[in-house]
Symmetry: D2
Subunit: 288 residues, 4 copies
């Protein structure tokens, strides 16, 4: 007898009576055994969200399953994704010069804490090449000019490579360039970024300096999807740390790195485990 | 047209295929509209737990609903409870001399943060009478002797009063007596206690002094159900706070009070919202 | 033999060699015994801050001590305060309609967790009168008109009462009026306010609604000194709590109240224990 | 003109009048400029602790300074250490098979977040050799037999190497052997260990399994000095994380790793910055 196969179904639909019963009945009829079901109804937006983790006999015909889900989805106006859990998410990392987020993601990946496959690392600098290549991951250098037309050209070239790789996820590991709007839109809710403040506080440049000047007693980091509008994308996770008057801007930066690493690592894990749905600019996160 | 009625169904059953589908279908068939569904399958114990919050048309015949749930429950070997959300839980508080947990619970109750009705406060001391009676809550004084037979008698008298009141919940707000085993068993998973340490650390007397002596850097409090065995009941919630070398045992006590208040208040809220199931000494808490 | 008297000395001076040695020597020469010394040198602003808790023999001539401190202070260009620890800080509370911060402060005051004496409660509404008066604290009703000239008049009347009471501290317990600039300046760094967000995020009205709309995963509260510019005063303390997608704006409000209560209570305690110095809009907090 | 030199003075003495004044005056007389002074008087044990960070002109004769401190120390019965801040602490890491703590320490060291020099890594297994050697750090393999006399011999050989290296600090990065008492005593307060629970809860083997079985809602890790008695050494730092009923023992292990990494990294930093004094089994930690 062979091992059952595990799947993740993520589904959004406008709310109405009997949705959960319909979905769970459909899957149960095909011998699906639920491992974890999470459901949320947004009462303000009359929207229904669910994530179902379940296993099927190895003999399951996956195309048949997909068809029956698609049929139901059409009836109830649902958007949905189905993924086999054992397949890691094809991922590209974007980095610049600092390595703390990169090192964090590499370690979590090697330790299998996050279910991704790193297809490539792209950078606008050369400094992290060795750290990437010693893990036998391809490193691509795309310098980004400050001058608008050349910058645009550089991103076009980068996008060409991305289209060749065809990643399911991109992660900005403190990549210090603003991505063009068209690229954010092309990979909507598939580019994870980490901002080094508790958004929406301290949007923009040098948030630790801003935090120091304001004299806050808590600093943090925000993991979010990159969108056209800078630092405005749906928030996935946040991490926070206490600071005191004696912490210099450099101390805040150092402590903040721990927040960034944790929030980013959790964000990637949540995404790679298909736990996030986005609706009206807010993220529904079925936590683990 | 009248307002729909809201219900909470809590259910445990040995795991098998199709449980969630069966339950949600049953409720959907009777026009139940889910507001919140949480489900957990314990893979080690092959046990299925769910909590469903849903609303029904005002015209619903509640007895008919109960019958159909009972029928299903018998088939699948389930234990379950059904409660109408608008009815507050009849509660008795037990106190001794310190008032921080009492004041906390009274404030949360007055502010409707916890859905309880306080039927009485019982104490082994007179000191908190005024604070209770000014809220128009009956206060009962049951002094507890140190001598075993007289102590037992006192608890018997107290139990007689409890049986007359018939509370659904008892809360030990830093009640400084160990309840007899028979009383804990009579109200199994219906007596909430607060212990002033991060259990299982510092069981027994004067945990803050123990914590000081050990030089811990984190202190906390544990909200749990009272069981026959002291400080061993299923844990509902815990709260924690950082401390430093300069904190005296009295400081730990002061800071710990904030942990106790928060953990106890959350624990009562979780219980009163029917979010807790207990299995094999562990609590499944469908959080809010 | 009589009990020694305890004092708190708070001092700021431009930094230069030998400051701490000079101050500790001066106090030691008069038989001062240090209980706790905290010192901070701001390297960016070349500023020296210290807080010394010490005790003196009961026979000490306090005026003589003050004179010698004043002499040194003049030499080094210092600002300083000296307070006898046993004397509670004369305090006025400002409230509107919600009582959670009021109840919190009252409980901390009754429990002697914060070293204040509550001389009066001032409100722009009548709703909390009973809750105040049952504690035998005078309650003063000053309705505040929306119309500018009448509003100004109301604050003038209120200020007249304040000048008669002569409080050392005012605490805005969710007082829902913006104090006029002249009043903030008159009581500079002596008006503590609580804002229901992690400042500088969500300045202004209805921060929990703003937080909900932005989909943050952390909410919090900020205790700060009221200044002319709304929500811009020096931050004393902040408290934070995790939230999830299923928390409604009302849930955020409820959870946020716990943050507000904790941050405000700690802020008052820090102030009343003379642990806060303000410099360039940032607070130096010698924590406990 | 050359850069001033920075020093750290750590000092313990039985408490008496004028200690801080005497020390600060001594240093000020030699043109010492304080960057940070922390002081704590333990009122129960009448013990005085201080840590002073200061800088001296480059021309300072360090031996003269040491002599004058030694003279004062003898008079007041003090134990003390003086260190020049720019010199990293010579450190040996002990590892077994898991690499999360090792990778963490290596990253913090490369990033200069902790002021240590890693002289060697010692392991009872070969699995982490490559990860160590690619950082150009010597890796020494000392297998430890289960059989008592051979085990003792192995530790004797290991100690011989240690005496040759002469490290100022050892860090057990999840080294899965109990060090012999004589080794702990030889390096008293110079061996940092990380235990994967919130000590004193879950002493001994497999704490995450214990935590799962007890159903705790908070897990954590404890960084402490290794002592003769297992898991009983002075606590340096602790870290904590919320968990829920659905977290399996493996989940607790995974989440716990983040606690271990943070607590260990902070503990090493505190030690390497000379911020820890130990007295009566408790650690005084002058935090940063």
């Amino acid at each position: 007898m062979s091992t059952p196969r595990r799947f993740l179904l993520k589904l959004y639909a406008p709310d109405r009576l009997g949705l959960l019963a319909a979905i769970t009945t459909l899957l149960a009829q095909q011998q699906g055994n639920f491992l974890d079901v999470q459901q949320y109804t947004d009462p303000l937006n009359k929207a229904f969200f669910t994530r179902l983790a379940f296993e099927f006999p190895a003999s399951l015909e996956i195309e048949k399953l997909k068809k029956s889900i698609a049929l139901l989805a059409r009836k109830i106006g649902a958007r949905w994704t189905l993924r086999e859990q054992s397949v890691p998410l094809k991922t590209v990392l974007l980095v610049s010069k600092t390595n703390h987020c990169l090192a964090e993601v590499l370690w979590r990946w090697r330790s299998k804490e996050i279910n991704i496959e790193i297809a490539a690392v792209i950078s606008n600098h050369e400094v992290l090449r060795a750290e990437v290549e010693r893990e036998r991951i391809p490193f691509h250098f795309f310098p980004i000019s400050k001058e608008a037309p050349r910058k645009e050209k550089a991103f076009q070239k980068m996008a060409a490579l991305l289209r060749a790789i065809h990643p399911e996820l991109m992660v900005m590991c403190r990549y210090m360039q603003v991505l063009p709007a068209w690229l954010c839109n092309e990979y909507e809710c598939r580019i994870i970024n980490i901002h080094h403040s508790l958004l929406p506080a301290f949007i923009g440049a040098d948030p630790y300096r801003q935090a120091y000047n304001r004299g806050v007693k808590l600093i943090g980091a925000t993991c979010h999807y990159a969108t056209e509008e800078l630092d405005q994308g749906p928030i996935i996770d946040q991490e926070v740390m206490r600071v005191q008057h004696f912490h210099s801007p450099e101390d805040l930066q150092r402590l903040g790195r721990d927040c960034e690493k944790l929030a980013l690592a959790r964000g990637i894990r949540l995404h790679a485990d298909d736990r996030i749905l986005v609706h009206n600019g807010r993220s529904i996160v079925f936590g683990d």
